[in-house]
Amino acid sequence: MKTKTFLAVAVLAGAITALPSSAQDKMNDLEIAHTAYTAGNIDIRYAHLALAISENAEVRAFAQTMIRDHEAVNEQAVALITRLKVTPQDNGLSQTLVEGAAAKRAELMSLSGKRFDCAYATNELGYHQVVNQTVEKNFIPSVTVPPLKDLLVDALATFKIHEGHAESMVQNLQCRS
C-alpha cells in the first residue's frame, strides 16, 4: 500500500508539475485563485462520492468535514473576488487538475467496501500533501494581492489539518497492512 500511496502522490504531483515550469512561474493572481478554487471543488466532489459509496463512519465523517470546510473556504474566495470585482482565469493547471480528478473519480466509482475506503483515504492524503505543498511553496509566494495571500494562508492552515486527519484515517483503516 505504500507503493499505492506513493503512486497516488506521484500522479497528483505529476498533474501539478506537468506544465512547463515557466508556465507555473507565470501564473498570475487570477489564475492562482482559479486553481485554488478548482482544487477545493475537486475535493468536495470526492467527498460527495465517499458519502454515496462508503459505509465507514470515519470515512463519512471525514467526507462531511471536507465538504463543510472546502465550501467555507470557497465561499470566502467568492466573497473576495466579488469585493475585488475580478474574475478568476481558467488555466492549464486547473484543466489538468480537473482531468486528473475525473479519472480518479472513475477509478473510485469502480470500488466498494474497504477497497473504496482505502483508495479514497489514500487519495485524500496524497491530494492534500501535493496541494498543500503547491499552495505553500508556489501560490503564496507568488500572489501579489494581500487579501488573496491572506486567504491562501488561512486556507492552508485548514488544508494542513485535513492532511493530518487523512493520515490518521489511512492508519486507522489499516490500508498499509
Binding site: 492552515a157 485548514t158 489539518i161 493530518g164
Partner: protein, 130 residues
C-alpha cells in the same frame, strides 16, 4: 437680643447648634449610603470570558471561571467549528467565521469540550463555586 444672636450664624439664618446637628445627620447618612454601596460592590457580578478559535485551537484551551459566569467563543478560522461538551450537555452549534456564541455555566466542576467537526481540537472549562 445679642444673647439670642450667638445662637445664629450672624446672618440672621440657621442657629449654629442646629447646623452642627444637621451636618452630623448628613455625615451619618452619607456613611450609610457609602456602606450600602460597598456591600453591593462586594457582591460579584457575572463575568463574560472569551475563548478564541484560531488556527484550529481553542485559545485559551483551559479556562477557569466562577459559577454564573459566561464564556463566549468566537471563530476566527475560515473553517466552521463548534464547542461541544464531551457528553453534549451544551453545544454552541456551528460557528462560521467571526460568529460568536456564549454559554452560561451555573454548575461547578470541570467540563471538557471539543469541536464536533475537528475532534482533535479540545478545551476545558473549570467552573469554581461562588
Amino acid at each position: 437680643m445679642s444673647q439670642l444672636k450667638r445662637h445664629f450664624d450672624g446672618k440672621g439664618g440657621v442657629p449654629l447648634n442646629f447646623a452642627r446637628f444637621l451636618t452630623l445627620v448628613l455625615c451619618v447618612a452619607a456613611g450609610w449610603i457609602a456602606s450600602t454601596h460597598v456591600t453591593v460592590a462586594s457582591e460579584r457580578q457575572p463575568v463574560v470570558h472569551q475563548v478564541k478559535i484560531e488556527k484550529f485551537r481553542f485559545v485559551p484551551a483551559d479556562l477557569t471561571i466562577r459559577q454564573g459566569d459566561s464564556v463566549e467563543w468566537i471563530n476566527l478560522d475560515i473553517a466552521p467549528h463548534t464547542a461541544t461538551e464531551d457528553n453534549k450537555v451544551w453545544d454552541t452549534g456551528r460557528l462560521n467565521k467571526d460568529q460568536i456564541t456564549s454559554v452560561t455555566f451555573s454548575t461547578p466542576g470541570a467540563q471538557s469540550y471539543f469541536c464536533r467537526y475537528h475532534p482533535s481540537m479540545r478545551g476545558q472549562i473549570i467552573v469554581q463555586a461562588q
